[in-house]
């Protein structure tokens, strides 16, 4: 028997990661600066870690209820209300998941009948398309454009909708572009969707990392509340990536369906990480504020660095990524990344890793120290200067 023949064609159709090769190169290098990792460089604030340790000391090592500790769900409900004006009943409208990624997978598997279309704005987080394909959906990509500040426009959305559209994914603040949707932008999308039988999956994992104005959730519009599933988590805002705690808030019927899959696949999110998450919501807003201010300063530093290097760079107002255009160097995204790594020992990720329309762009993250960013920007300027000269 050839095991390879036994693997599902759907899984086979998912392309391998295009950035793996860079990581292998990076590991062999000394003095390399990686601006490639999509997670905070901050360690989880100590009070949260301490709560995790205390939970283990107390012997809280059992399963929690499938939906997550009710204490945590109640804190999440309070947080969603205080922070975004969203009201959810912790008993039946909130599910604690293993990272926000699990929630994306559960939501799509709960909703999709093979052949349904899922609208995915790109460039965006790689898991949307992967999970959509695995659920049997047909991904319909909307190419976001630099001239729209990588925002989703009502026109583009309208054009992508067909009779088969079941789900629209709204991924803002966005990885990899750093784009956000303002209140006005969201209102345009509400206008398109309010009378349609389409479910919105709003991935708001970067909501706290919004640097201009306040994050607006599409679920805060009464006509959208029922048909929107809001996904969030602790990884980015509280620097808790390795704890793997995310959550989904939405209609009891959808949450209940997601819970069915969750209880067979996962049982429950790690209990001691849930206890740490309770501490995060109760006592860490100062730490979040400190981290957001620090990211904002690094953001300006990095955007300025790319612009001084002569690259077009739209101003990202959310998440912790900068998405400069590198076409002026005459290189493809892949070439740019490979040469930059080999010649200047700085790793950024090709925009194409986040969808075909990321061609001509690269993603750099400012979840890295100020010193690293200053040094990396010096090297990038040197690199671009040298190659622009060659190009002309």
């Amino acid at each position: 028997m050839n095991i390879n023949d036994m693997i599902s064609p759907t899984v086979k159709s998912i392309p391998p990661s295009g950035i793996r090769k860079y990581f292998d190169l990076l590991n062999e290098m000394k003095d390399a600066i990686s601006l490639s990792v999509g997670e905070p460089d901050f360690v989880t604030p100590w009070n949260i870690r301490e709560a995790g340790i205390y939970s283990l000391e107390k012997g809280q090592t059992h399963y929690s209820s499938n939906a997550g500790l009710i204490e945590l769900r109640s804190e999440i409900a309070k947080y969603m209300d205080n922070r975004f004006g969203l009201k959810y009943n912790p008993k039946e409208e909130i599910l604690v998941t293993v990272g926000a990624s699990e929630a994306i997978d559960l939501a799509l598997r709960s909703l999709i009948i093979p052949g349904d279309e899922v609208i995915i704005p790109e460039p965006s987080f790689v898991a949307y398309k992967g999970c959509a394909l695995l659920s049997g959906a047909v991904p319909v990509v909307i190419e976001l454009k630099a001239e729209d500040q990588f925002r989703l426009t009502p026109e583009a959305l309208e054009n992508a909708i067909t009779e088969k559209t079941k789900v629209v994914i709204i991924p803002f603040p966005n990885n990899p572009t750093g784009a956000i949707m303002t209140k006005k932008d969201i209102e345009g999308i509400v206008e398109v969707l309010k009378d349609k039988d389409i479910v919105v999956i709003s991935d708001e994992i970067y909501a706290e990392l919004t640097y201009e104005g306040e994050h607006v959730s599409i679920a805060s519009y009464p006509e959208m509340k029922e048909k929107t599933l809001v996904i969030n988590g602790f990884s980015k805002a509280f620097a808790m990536t390795g704890w793997r705690i995310g959550y989904a808030c939405g209609h009891p019927c959808l949450i209940d369906s997601m819970k069915k899959i969750h209880q067979y696949a996962i049982m429950c999110a790690p209990t001691n990480a849930q206890h740490a998450a309770i501490e995060a919501l109760r006592n860490s807003s100062d730490d979040v504020g400190m981290m957001v201010r620090e990211y904002n300063r690094r953001r300006r530093l990095m955007v300025d660095g790319f612009r001084k290097a002569g690259l077009d760079c739209f101003e990202p107002l959310g998440a912790f990524y900068v998405f400069p255009c590198i076409t002026s160097t005459g290189m493809s995204s892949d070439e740019f990344c490979e040469k930059l790594l080999m010649e200047e020992k700085v790793l950024v990720v090709p925009g194409t890793a986040f969808g075909d329309c990321g061609a001509g762009f690269v993603r750099a993250t400012y979840a890295s120290s100020v010193e690293n960013i200053i040094e990396a920007m010096k090297r990038i300027k040197k690199f671009v200067d040298r190659h622009s000269r060659l190009h002309i």
Binding site: E39, R293, R297, R300, V370, E371
Partner: protein, 159 residues
């Protein structure tokens, strides 16, 4: 401009040009603000935090609890000044509770600190008693953990 302090507190070596970019201000604005903070005594110095244990230099630190008699009209300030003016004194705080002043003293060795206490500090007229504690190991100073590993151990992950 509170944010300038947050930046400088963590890294006082950053250039004004970089701080200006980080705050979205002009270089002149930042320079002016820093000068103002210096003039007002908000920024009182730019020190380097050194883990002397990693060098060859001999050094001991002691924390001394001092009980004093406050002076009429001057309270504790006058006697505190008499004490903190000694260059051996790295820090001096007025305390609530069982004693009055905490005095942090640095010296080359135990003998040097002992002679400072015996010859300079204890004989002062207002000093009633002293109790000297030697520091055995510094884990963290001024918010900086000394034995911290600086390596970025985030692993490559697809996202």
């Amino acid at each position: 401009m509170e944010e300038i302090l947050e930046i400088l507190e963590n890294n006082s070596r950053l250039k004004c040009e970089d701080i200006a970019v980080m705050l979205g201000k002009s270089v002149e604005e930042v320079k002016e603000a820093i000068k103002k903070l210096e003039d007002e005594g908000v920024i009182v110095g730019y020190n380097t935090l050194i883990n002397w244990e990693k060098t060859n230099r001999e050094m001991v630190t002691a924390l001394i609890e001092v009980k004093v008699t406050p002076q009429r009209g001057e309270g504790f300030d006058k006697v505190a000044e008499r004490i903190h003016r000694f260059p051996e004194v790295k820090a001096c705080y007025l305390m609530s509770g069982g004693f009055d002043l905490t005095v942090i003293v640095e010296g080359k060795n135990l003998k040097q600190v002992a002679s400072f206490v015996a010859e300079k500090l204890a004989p002062l007229e207002s000093v009633l008693s002293t109790s000297t504690h030697f520091v055995l190991k510094k884990y963290k100073d001024d918010g900086v953990i000394f034995e911290k590993k600086e390596k970025d151990d985030r692993e490559a992950i697809v996202l």
